[in-house]
């Protein structure tokens, strides 16, 4: 048995044991995807470094060379936060369900449903003051999302209907029903979208003048960060979190331990749906401001990969969702600054999500390599020791 070459050994050493791999594997997946994107950019004849820097510039992480009037790095950064908020909520939504062993693939549908209900109930109420309208939007989003998702949980616990199937079906139902009502009632013929919601109901303060700058201030981000802390608290400190993790680990053992698996299944879907609902209102009544019919946005699906990239851990998800939002937001500037088409941004995102989904495989390779290396090292040192003795 031979030891691996120094490069492999270095990589194996850096990846560390299983505890450390929770961080090193996602980082490694991101590195791989950046390398793969570099290849694409090189084929396009662009300098990859330049492209990555312009992604960061476009999203307000690094300063641009020049800014238009009333714009600055802060403007870009706030606009990044504005886009990030729904993504963070959506990823948390997926994570909560996943920890309990459920796969919520219906986040996009739940977002749309919550966004639509909030839009028609509060979004066009001209006379409602902001202090009433905004909390109302949040509450309606939360409740609507929770109700829709708990249907999935109910179907699962009552008739053991696979949550993936019912969520996908619900996605279709919501998409077509909402599209019908948007087109029939609140359609703006010139934009082919719903009329924009009132400023007082919108969760992002758009084009706000502050210190000589015009900025979009996302109020939802405060809620999103609070949600991260709450979800983390739920799973590390709360009895409910313990029960949900037990169900996720072994539903039979959870039932044997006296956990009410059926009720908790509905409950966890409701929590997941509430977070999806918040993602919906911060998107449709925050970042975007209106509803586009016939479209189910990709946020809820990307969130699944973002959640996996972040190990279904709320803290990890902060980083993984921010990364995806940076690329998403920066890709406009990528096009305007160095002439790489905006879609390349989506391609990089896709590559990251692809590699992150391979995390378990990478982890398997690393652990096998480490075991092999360990065996080889011991064998060699053992043999060496014996020879020395002889």
């Amino acid at each position: 048995m031979r030891r691996a070459n120094p490069i492999t050994r270095g990589v194996l050493f850096l990846m560390g044991d299983e505890r450390r791999q929770r961080i090193t594997i996602p980082v490694f997946a991101i590195l791989l995807s950046l390398i793969a994107s570099s290849v694409v950019l090189l084929i396009l004849g662009k300098n990859p470094m330049e492209a990555f820097v312009s992604l960061l510039r476009g999203s307000g992480i690094l300063p641009k060379e020049a800014y238009a009037a009333k714009k600055s790095m802060l403007t870009d950064f706030l606009s990044l936060l504005n886009a990030w908020t729904p993504m963070l909520f959506a990823s948390l939504s997926v994570a909560v369900a996943m920890r309990a062993g459920l796969f919520n693939i219906g986040v996009s549908g739940q977002m749309l449903c919550a966004g639509f209900i909030a839009t028609v109930t509060v979004g066009y109420a001209e006379n409602l003051p902001a202090v009433v309208a905004k909390p109302l939007v949040v509450i309606i989003g939360l409740v609507a999302g929770a109700l829709v998702a708990s249907i999935i949980g109910f179907l699962k616990q009552k008739w053991n209907i696979n949550e993936v199937v019912s969520a996908i079906m619900l996605n279709y139902i919501i998409r077509y029903v909402v599209s019908f009502f948007v087109k029939a009632t609140i359609n703006n013929p010139s934009t082919r979208q719903s009329w924009p919601v009132t400023a007082s109901s919108r969760l992002s303060l758009m084009d706000t003048e502050l210190g000589g700058l015009k900025m979009d201030i996302p109020l939802g981000i405060i809620l999103a960060v609070a949600a991260v802390i709450l979800v983390q608290f739920l799973f590390t400190k709360m009895k409910l979190g313990f029960e949900l993790r037990a169900i996720g680990g072994n539903p039979v053992a959870a039932r044997y331990a006296g956990v009410n698996v059926g009720r908790n299944t509905v409950l966890v879907m409701a929590i997941s749906g509430a977070l999806a609902g918040l993602a919906g209102v911060t998107y449709y009544l925050g970042y975007f401001g209106s509803i586009q019919p016939d479209v189910l946005i990709s946020t809820g699906f990307d969130a699944i990969a973002v959640c996996i990239l972040g190990n279904s851990n709320p803290i990890g998800i902060i980083f993984s969702s921010l990364l995806i939002s940076v690329i998403d937001k920066g890709s406009t500037y990528l096009q305007s600054s160095i002439g790489v088409r905006q879609e390349i941004g989506a391609l990089i995102t896709g590559l990251i999500l692809l590699f992150s989904a391979c995390g378990a495989f990478i982890s398997y390779l690393v652990n096998r390599g480490r075991q092999h290396e360990e065996d080889a090292r011991k064998l060699l040192s053992g043999a060496g020791g014996k020879e020395a003795k002889a």
Partner: protein
């Protein structure tokens, strides 16, 4: 010397994080003998044989096969050296037929036109011939999911024979079998020896070794204690060497002091998923300080009785009363709170969340109570103190103490964890289903003692076991179940092992008079 041995292991050492699984072990196995490896759980038997089968490589030491030094780097290479292994947990594809499983990986090919196809017809014939030759009767076309455990084991043996294995390793082959099936298996093993095969038997059951083995190596905590000639050694000596101290075969049992009735089951009927009654009109009661044992051949409804009392399955008819409270329709949590401890048959799929830490698993039935939980918030300090105490008191061994992920623990220690958790509940009724299945003598003795201690504390104990010896040794009252019906209930001292055995086979009560 070396060439007289077909397998020789010299100075083998294997370490795992936090433990030396094998410490400088040297042994030789002769061609055509049945060589037993005896040791408690975690003694290093399986590790040692896994190295022979190429699943691990030794950290130190050398392996010689037929006098030639070999580096066995993979099970494939071991197969090439004519070494085969039947694992404790079978490795079969459940929706494939027996023949398909046997040829998996080395499929005989033929051509149908331009397409290469698996030649299943000739395989079926070859498998049938092979099974006839060694007396391992199977139907090559039956699917694995439709056949019972002992037939599945025969498939594993055929798999090795099909690959022309000369050295056959059996890892705890009898752990999952009934007494009759064990007898049959031992016969097969003897037949294989007559056929010129070399057999290595990993086990902790002394009677089996006494029955079939020629020589036996005893391992204790990773070290080789001795290699003995089985014919000239008593089981008592082997047991003492294996455990490392004197072992009591006879359970010291004080006379029972029965108290008031704790559990009363009346006219209980339980139906399975196909709405077929698996428990039929069963009635019995268990008093405080009494061990009520249900004897029966596996699959006759005894596990369903336990599940129904614990609340895991619904009672279709009848009532279950605990300390005067009707619990027939109560949920599981309320039953636990009212006083039921339950050690289930399937420890990995029911008794534990394998990916939880040991400390979380030890608190799996109490996490919602004070001091573990206060107003919905967990107290991790309480978890860890409680875990630490139970690990110490019940001698639960693991790599990283209370933070060990239970999946990585040995079966015996997983069982100790469940027993610890359930006994600590201090419930008036304790249900033990197969509490010693797959455990070694030391651990069995320990659990038997614990069951008796709990009985003497005045708990009512419902014991369900397939081991007749266990039932005869522990029970105060015996109920024999056959095909879902309780055929006979009587005080233990009025029944002989033979009588119980007959009832287990379905001989009706009226035939005895």
């Amino acid at each position: 010397m070396a060439d007289e041995y077909i397998v020789e292991m010299r100075h083998i050492t294997k370490r795992f994080p936090g433990i030396v699984a094998n410490d400088d072990i040297s042994l030789g196995i002769k061609k055509g003998e049945i060589f037993a490896l005896l040791g408690e759980n975690g003694a290093g038997k399986s590790t040692l044989m896994s190295m022979l089968f190429g699943m691990y490589e030794p950290d130190e030491g050398e392996i010689y096969i037929r006098g030639k030094r070999e580096h066995i780097t993979s099970p494939n290479y071991a197969t090439k050296l004519n070494i085969g292994m039947v694992h404790q947990h079978f490795k079969l594809v459940s929706n494939y037929t027996i023949a398909e499983n046997i040829i998996l990986g080395i499929e005989p090919k033929r051509r149908a036109g331009i397409f290469p196809v698996v030649d299943i017809k000739s395989t079926n014939e070859k498998v049938a011939a092979l099974s006839k030759q060694y007396g391992l009767e199977v139907d090559p076309k039956a699917k694995i999911e439709d056949i019972n455990v002992s037939t599945q084991q025969r498939v594993e043996i055929l798999k090795m024979l099909y690959r022309e294995a000369e050295i056959l390793i059996f890892d705890e082959p009898t752990a999952v079998l009934t007494p009759q099936e064990i007898d049959f298996l031992l016969q097969i093993i003897r037949g294989l020896r007559e056929g010129g095969k070399t057999i290595i038997l990993i086990t902790h059951k002394l009677e089996e070794i006494k029955q079939v083995a020629d020589r036996c190596a005893i391992l204790n905590r990773g070290k080789l204690i001795d290699i003995l000639d089985v014919a000239s050694t008593s089981t008592q000596t082997m047991a003492n060497l294996m455990v490392g101290r004197e072992v009591d075969f006879v359970v010291d049992k004080a006379p029972a002091k029965f108290g008031k009735e704790v559990l009363r089951v009346e006219h209980l009927t339980v139906k399975n998923r196909d709405n077929f009654p698996v428990v039929k009109d069963v009635s019995f009661s268990v008093r405080a300080g009494e061990i009520f044992a249900i004897a029966g051949v596996s699959g006759n409804g005894q596990v369903e009785i336990a599940d129904a009392v614990a609340g895991m399955v619904r009672a279709a008819e009848g009532t279950i009363t605990l300390n005067g409270t009707d619990i027939t329709h109560m949920d599981i949590r309320s039953r636990t709170d009212l006083g039921i401890s339950y050690i289930p048959e399937d420890r990995q799929n029911m008794g534990l969340v394998l990916d939880f830490t040991l400390e979380d698993n030890l608190a799996l039935k109490t996490y919602y109570r004070e001091p573990f939980c206060h107003k919905g918030i967990l107290n991790h300090e309480a978890f860890s103190q409680y875990g630490q105490r139970l690990i110490g008191e019940y001698d639960i061994r693991s790599g990283q103490g209370k933070d060990t992920v239970v999946r990585s623990m040995s079966g015996g220690n997983q069982q100790k964890a469940i027993v610890a958790r359930e006994i600590e509940l201090a419930s008036p009724l304790m249900i033990f289903v197969q509490p010693t299945r797959g455990l070694d003598i030391g651990a069995i003795e320990n659990i038997h003692r614990q069951i008796l201690i709990e009985r003497d504390k005045g708990r009512a104990i419902l014991l369900i076991s397939l081991e007749l010896d266990e039932i005869m040794g522990l029970a105060d009252t015996i109920g024999v179940i056959f095909s879902g019906e309780l055929l006979k209930t009587a005080p233990a001292d009025t029944l002989t092992t033979n009588e119980v055995g007959q009832f287990m086979m379905g001989v009706k009560q009226n035939e005895e008079s």
